[in-house]
């Protein structure tokens, strides 16, 4: 079926199998490999993107479900003036080590600070519970999100 999605502000369209997951549509069809796959169980959040402005696990959606939607991936965050504030905060707070979780973590964090007011450290930890990081111990991730969310 023809699936049309506005990805990072650009209208894209492709004829894909109905069983195609959104993450494979992004990676394999559109070549946007910033969005990672880290698990088979919808638990790691490495695949998190924004669908109509809110975080979603792109491994847990069929591409046909977002036909017509607006999708933002990590490739679409930075603007002409440089990094998105959340990317900048991750950079400054050293909120990544291997970087595998980072695209999903950043997308989840962007959605989180938009969705919840008055986030404190505990709120950030709970809000990012769907995103696993095997390297950092989360401390600097929380600091980066707080730097933007406060």
């Amino acid at each position: 079926m023809e699936v049309s999605v506005t990805v990072n502000g650009t209208a894209r369209s492709a004829d894909v199998e109905l069983r195609t997951l959104l993450v494979h549509y992004l990676r394999d069809v559109l070549g946007l490999t910033g969005t990672n796959v880290g698990c088979d169980t919808s638990s790691c959040g490495a695949c998190t993107v924004l669908v109509d402005g809110r975080s979603a696990k792109s491994c847990t959606l069929l591409a046909v479900q977002v036909d017509g939607a607006d999708v933002t991936t990590i490739e679409g965050l930075a603007g002409p003036d440089g990094l998105h504030p959340m990317q900048q905060a991750f950079h400054e707070c050293h909120a990544l080590q291997c970087g595998y979780c980072t695209p999903g973590m950043v997308m989840a964090a962007v959605s989180l600070v938009d969705e919840y007011d008055d986030l404190d450290a505990a709120g950030v930890r709970v809000g990012l519970e769907g995103n696993l990081c095997r390297c950092t111990g989360y401390q600097n991730i929380v600091a980066a999100v707080l730097a933007v969310g406060e």
């Binding site: 079926m1 199998e17 109905l18 069983r19 195609t20 997951l21 494979h24 088979d40 169980t41 919808s42 638990s43 959040g45 998190t48 669908v51 809110r54 975080s55 979603a56 696990k57 491994c59 847990t60 959606l61 069929l62 046909v64 479900q65 989840a108 959605s111 989180l112 969705e115 930890r125 709970v126 809000g127 990012l128 519970e129 769907g130 995103n131």
Partner: protein, 271 residues
């Protein structure tokens, strides 16, 4: 893993969804948020022949308070429940429980109707609707029928819903009494190892993950009604249950948890 090949119909009305289900036969499945079905399809534990996508039936999403009843469209997301000012005023328990489901990304897509229809005893919202004494509205080829939440769940991932019926609405009474949800788990974003929902100051008590279906704790409710203390009432929490044994906990430990969490929840709810 990638789901098995599947056909797909996008429904633009409840009637169209029912017609598509009738036409597609037994192996068809409704697709709402996909937050339970897509993971099962990825593991190939579910291999539907046709998906009937009801995710765009915006008319079935929304919360309205009419007199002493809160009506919630089946397609209302967990996130919408969590953030609704109307629900926070009319039934704060349900808004709170919705906010305990999974993680934000799951809550943005998963729906109340999907959570109930999936009928997982480990899910949070079915127990909340049970404790609140809710009613489910199902629509099929012959029209709509109302099903008391207490009559809805029949077995593990099974309900009284027919293969060509869809849930359209969930109704709960406006709730004024004390409430509490005790969700016990040990990993972030996880399902409850055991959960206890107390509604209306102890008039409604329901258990998560204490058997093959979400269930009410009738013994606790009766004891509260008879004026028992929270501790005495809670001692009946595991009566008549057959809690599962799995990697997280054995059945005896679950029974213990049910009693402890019930006492805490009753105290917090002012029973």
């Amino acid at each position: 893993m990638i789901p098995a090949a599947v056909d797909y119909v996008r429904a633009d009305s409840a009637e169209a969804a029912i017609a598509a289900l009738a036409e597609a036969g037994d192996e068809a499945k409704l697709l709402a948020g996909g937050q339970s079905l897509v993971p099962l399809m990825r593991l190939r534990l579910a291999t539907p022949s046709v998906l009937v996508d009801i995710g765009r039936l915006d008319g079935l999403a929304g919360i309205s308070v009419d007199g002493d009843t809160v009506g919630i469209g089946a397609l209302t997301t967990h996130s919408a429940l969590e953030h609704s000012a109307d629900l926070a005023a009319a039934c704060p328990l349900l808004a709170h429980v919705a906010a305990q489901v999974g993680d934000p990304a799951v809550r943005h897509r998963g729906t109340l109707g999907g959570s109930l229809a999936h009928a997982d005893p480990a899910s949070d919202l079915p127990a909340a609707v049970l404790a609140l004494g809710g009613t489910l509205v199902a629509t099929g080829p012959g029209g709509s029928r109302e099903i008391a939440a207490t009559d809805f769940f029949t077995g593990f991932l099974e309900s009284v819903l027919g293969p060509d019926e869809l849930l359209t609405e969930v109704r709960v009474p406006v709730s004024t009494g004390g409430w509490c949800y005790q969700k016990f788990n040990r990993r972030a974003q996880d399902w409850a190892i055991v959960g206890v929902v107390v509604a209306e100051g102890g008039a409604g008590v329901a258990l998560v993950n204490m058997g093959s279906t979400p269930m009410r704790a009738a013994g606790v409710e009766a004891a509260v009604a008879a004026g028992a203390s929270a501790g005495d009432a809670a001692s009946a929490a595991a009566d008549g249950t057959e809690p599962p044994t799995d990697n997280n906990a054995d059945g005896d430990y679950r029974a213990h948890l049910a009693r402890v969490l019930t006492e805490r929840a009753l105290v917090a709810a002012g029973a």
